[in-house]
């Protein structure tokens, strides 16, 4: 039981992706229509998801996303490939989210909302297939989902940010350090403290149960 299922994460940073990035950046700089479309297609969903997890407000997240792409398009000339394209884009996203008013107010608002029906509060969300993002798909019931989302909303924004970038945006520690412009040690500590805070928040709300149904193929790979 000691083997972590998380050990199966595949390293997806490949040379192919880096070459694609370069091609894309070059296309953006020269005003190639396909590059603009491709950048939007590649990043609109993850950038929106990140903004939503940080701000929890569809309208404000939409504003942030537009601002992010505007900045990306207008500043692509300043992108020198010191970081990867996605790190750069997420850095802009996090900065824009920090600028959004709700970043500071969300904490209190979230607590008020806890009394409302979690299903109703999540009307905006259409469930979309999460195409093989992780090799260990879990199926959450609505109660678990609501509990996790509520717990994420209650922990300090600084820790939430680190946890979201790690476990939802799926960035490496090094990428998170670049996105947040902090040291690797700080990233480690924020993720640890964020997860601990989340555990404490969840301790009261989730009943102990055989919670996770791991997909069969994942379970086989575990040994």
């Amino acid at each position: 039981m000691a083997t972590s299922i998380l050990d199966l994460r595949s390293d997806r940073a490949s040379e192919g992706a880096a070459a694609d990035n370069l091609r894309l950046v070059e296309g953006l700089r020269t005003g190639a229509g396909w590059a603009y479309e491709e950048l939007i297609a590649l990043f609109q969903q993850p950038v929106y998801a990140l903004a939503m997890r940080l701000l929890d407000d569809p309208a404000e997240s939409s504003d942030v996303v537009q601002e992010v792409f505007l900045k990306v398009f207008r500043n692509i000339g300043n992108f020198h490939g010191k970081s990867t394209l996605r790190t750069w884009i997420y850095r802009i996203t996090v900065n824009e989210a920090h600028n959004a008013r709700r970043w500071f107010f969300r904490h209190r608002r979230r607590e008020v909302e806890l009394d409302s029906d979690p299903e109703e509060a999540r009307n905006w969300k259409e469930i979309i297939p999460d195409n093989g993002r992780t090799p260990y798909d879990v199926v959450l019931d609505s109660e678990q989902r609501a509990a996790i989302e509520a717990a994420l909303g209650r922990i300090s924004p600084i820790f939430r940010e680190a946890v979201v970038l790690r476990d939802i945006t799926d960035l490496s520690y090094e990428e998170i350090a670049a996105v947040l412009a902090v040291s690797l040690g700080t990233v480690k500590s924020r993720i640890l403290r964020g997860r601990e805070a989340l555990r404490e928040e969840l301790a009261g709300s989730l009943k102990p149960r055989p919670a996770l149904r791991l997909m069969p193929e994942t379970a086989e790979k575990m040994s």
């Binding site: 299922i5 950048l39 998801a49």
Partner: protein, 238 residues
């Protein structure tokens, strides 16, 4: 390794951030110690649950706005990238526009042509060609006053308030300067930051401002205004 040490490192273990030897001794401890084993399982489940959250899907209106934004920005880059590319690009558009215009005004076609032009102009405002003949007698610049003021306050009361000028004024170091393209209906259809940054007030102007459009032979047309706001009044943005 003490239980405390182990529990502090569970997060790193889950993320494969531990050196091999440390990892082995962690796993050995977790296998043997019930408290740490339980903690490890809990953390593992919790991380998997966070990762299992559904991604909020992007709203269709946002997706549509992004693709308009992309085409605007692509055009803008092209325009700056090279004069040649720009000329080719515009020549193609002029051809297209003239193809449409020069069609015989046969009745069956008129409706189609007009609606095509209308949709063309509505969807891609920046594609309509600009009449860059400023300075000639028959052309008037957009009036520097907003028909609808996005703020409640009185403009004169505040020095930091954005000022509207003509694009010929030289940008000063202490101001954020943004040129805005005003279409024939008086709305802002495109903008470019000349210096500084786009301030929140300027964004309100872009979104909410309405201007008296420029005219050419008395007919409303596109024009450009320059919006200037003191840097001191802008919110500092990352």
């Amino acid at each position: 390794m003490s239980c405390e040490n182990v529990q502090e490192r569970i997060s790193l273990l889950l993320d494969r951030k531990l050196p091999a030897r440390e990892r082995e001794s962690m796993l050995a401890h977790i296998g043997a110690c019930r408290a740490c084993g339980t903690r490890f399982e809990m953390m593992q489940n919790q991380v998997a649950m966070v990762r299992g959250l559904d991604q909020p899907a992007i709203p269709p209106q946002l997706a549509a706005r992004l693709s308009v934004l992309a085409s605007h920005e692509c055009e803008r880059t092209l325009a700056r990238a090279s004069l040649l590319a720009r000329l080719q690009c515009w020549a193609a558009r002029v051809d297209l526009a003239f193809d449409n215009l020069m069609r015989p005004v046969a009745l069956p076609f008129t409706g189609g042509v007009l609606s095509t032009l209308l949709i063309f102009t509505l969807l891609v405002p920046s594609l309509s060609f600009s009449h860059d003949i400023r300075g000639r007698e028959f052309y008037t610049a957009p009036a520097g006053k907003m028909v609808t003021n996005p703020w409640d306050q009185v403009a004169d009361a505040d020095d930091d308030f954005p000022r509207i000028e003509t694009p010929t004024t030289a940008p000063s170091d202490y101001y954020n300067v943004v040129d805005m393209k005003i279409d024939e209906t008086g709305r802002v259809v495109d903008w470019s930051v000349v210096r500084g940054e786009l301030t929140p007030d300027m964004k309100s102007i872009i979104m909410l401002g309405r201007f008296q459009p420029a005219t050419e032979f008395g007919v409303p047309t596109q024009g450009t205004i320059r919006v200037v706001q003191s840097c001191a009044s802008a919110t500092v943005r990352g």
